[in-house]
Amino acid sequence: MRNPLTNRLLDIGLSGWMIALLVFLYIPIVTLAFFSFADSRVLTFPVQGFTLNWYRELFERPDFLPALRTSALVAVATMLVSTVLGTCGAILWMRYRFRFKQALQALTFLPVLFPQLLLGVMLLLWFSVLGTVFDFRLGIPTLIIGHVIYVTPFVMIIVAVQLYGFDDTVEDAARDAGASDWRVLVEITLPMIWPGISAAMIMAFLLSWGNFYLSYSLNGSMRTLPIFIYSGITVGSSPIYPALATLNFIPAMGLVVLADFLRRRALRRDTGAAKEES
């Protein structure tokens, strides 16, 4: 405003800082993708050449497949359960005011603020003690429970943001037009908050898919993909892990882009290309 040069420098400096952070965030991700194509058995730099051998090796000895299956099963179940619970929680949070509301809210959010490893350890103790009483072992159900506890607050926040802008006279209008409560829910409320719910579902899936800390305590004899990779790299690094990692990125990126696409489409429809009065 007063000094164009300083302002320009400030703009560049701030934007540059953000870009630098972005680069920082992608250093390990790009490195992994890079090494998955590197033609060398040891993961050092510079590399000799490029190859697709590691991907072939990965598929010739697909010992990661059970882990992949477990991860997918746990992530889908977590997504479904936490979306239902989180949406209920968000409605509770945004629509009602009642005694004990703040206490309930605090309780729901505490798992996010809880160091995950410790949460995992506490659940491990709980399941171990219960397991000796009721005779069960750690496995997929305990994994799902742990993930749901951790993921639900995230779902709640995303859905609550969507609910915040929700105009409920629209529900009245549907009721006025003769719709039953069920039809109002199915035809009006759910479609309108769907962008939030779908984004929350994708987020829930990915949070569960990539979770290490809780799985580490709760997996029992089952291995999820992060646990599989962790046990692999602590023993010794091999180029098949970068290849596995890179394969892991693609669907995740697709889901994130899909979530954004859904969000934008809804936004475009709801705000529209606002028209001038003629």
Binding site: A174, A177, E187, G272
Partner: protein, 366 residues
């Protein structure tokens, strides 16, 4: 025309300890256009919601089309509502919005399409908008879609909750004209809630003025304007002068004279006296267009007040003067449509004349 469609019998509504409506008894006739007017918080919207079935009265009875409504949900009532913020479904196209009530009522698809198109024509909406989303339309067009959605199932009563409060002045005027025409063509009963008495006067057959959860006046627009129930109603529209007068009963009727100044006493006919006026003091209601700036001698029966022009606003078709006088504590507001007075400058001494016999006497309590 004279059969009642809505009959509200001493309806009251409490929200906890707060009394939103007290003893509302109101009969609305078939085909009538009635406006509920009042300042915000007067209970007009609560009453509309009770009519629509979104809220239940705490006591009293409500009949619509001769049926008691206390157990009838909103969906099953012969009323449809146009909401203040329109409440169009943002995720449905214009066609899906308008046909929604028909689909709920299981009207066959072919008939639905036909009736939706009929509504589009009635509302002067272009058919190409059928596939648009509400957000792609202008404010006025959205308004018409909301009206179409409410009217498509041919309700007996259309409830309108300040539907034009968000529009700009010009668009409002044209939509008001359309609404009036629509009412005449359809013969549906309209109940309009508004805080704008001017809008109510333009549109409604009868106006129900509400203050503090009670009906203070119910009447045709001209009565509300000329014979307001009290000072509050009088002041609710436009600007008004209240001249303090002393009142005396004579054999021929009430005789009044201004508290300040020496005017001859004037006799008021019985229809010029508010039922609330009693005692020996009152306020004479003089609308701005009732006064004139005298250039010659006053006509017989006229009272005159001397003053100076304090401020002057040109309105195009007329000129408004605010004149400081001895007789009143606040400036006398006068609207003159004559060209001969338009040149009077601020600060000029003037003489204001009006006919007391044409004015209206109110009680001196607000």
């Amino acid at each position: 025309m004279s059969q009642p469609i809505i009959d509200s019998r001493s309806i009251s509504k409490n929200y906890g300890s707060f009394r939103a409506l007290t003893d509302i008894s109101l009969t609305i006739r078939k085909g009538e256009f009635i406006a509920l007017v009042g300042p915000s918080g007067c209970g007009k919207t609560s009453f509309l919601k009770i009519l629509a079935g979104f809220e239940q009265a705490s006591s009293g009875e409500l009949f619509i089309e001769d049926r008691e409504m206390s157990d009838v949900p909103a969906a099953a009532r012969p009323t449809r509502m146009v909401f203040q913020k329109l409440a169009l479904f943002p995720h449905k196209t214009v066609e899906e919005n308008i046909s929604f009530p028909l689909r709920i009522a299981k009207v066959p698809a072919a008939e639905r399409a036909e009736r939706v198109r009929g509504m589009m024509d009635l509302m002067h909406l272009r058919h190409e908008y059928l596939t648009h989303y509400p957000a792609q339309l202008s404010g006025g067009e959205q308004q018409r879609v909301a009206l179409a959605r409410a009217l498509v199932s041919r309700p007996g009563v259309l409830l309108l909750d300040e539907p034009m409060s968000a529009l700009d002045a010009k668009l409002k005027k044209s939509l008001q004209a359309e609404l009036k025409k629509l009412h005449r063509e359809l013969g549906t009963s309209f109940v309009l809630v508004t805080h704008d008495l001017e809008e109510a006067m333009m549109l409604a057959d009868r106006i129900c003025v509400m203050v503090g959860g009670r009906i203070v006046q119910l009447g045709v627009p001209l009565d509300i304007y000329r014979r307001p129930a009290n000072r509050f109603v009088a002041g609710f529209i436009g600007e008004t002068n209240f001249l303090p007068v002393s009142v005396a009963s004579t054999a021929d009727g009430l005789s009044v004279r201004p508290l300040r100044g020496d005017q001859t006493a004037a006799l008021l006919g019985a229809d010029r006296v508010s039922p609330e006026a009693h005692g020996d003091a009152g306020l004479l209601l003089i609308r701005p267009e009732d006064g004139e700036i005298l250039s010659g001698a006053p006509s017989p029966g006229m009272w005159t007040i001397a003053g100076t022009v304090d401020e002057k606003f040109t309105k195009g078709s007329s000129t408004q003067y605010r004149i400081r006088t001895e007789a009143l504590d606040v400036p006398f507001v006068l609207e003159s449509s004559g060209f001969d007075t338009a040149h009077i400058p601020v600060g000029a001494p003037v003489s204001v004349g009006f006919h007391p016999a044409k004015s209206y006497l109110l009680g001196d309590r607000p």
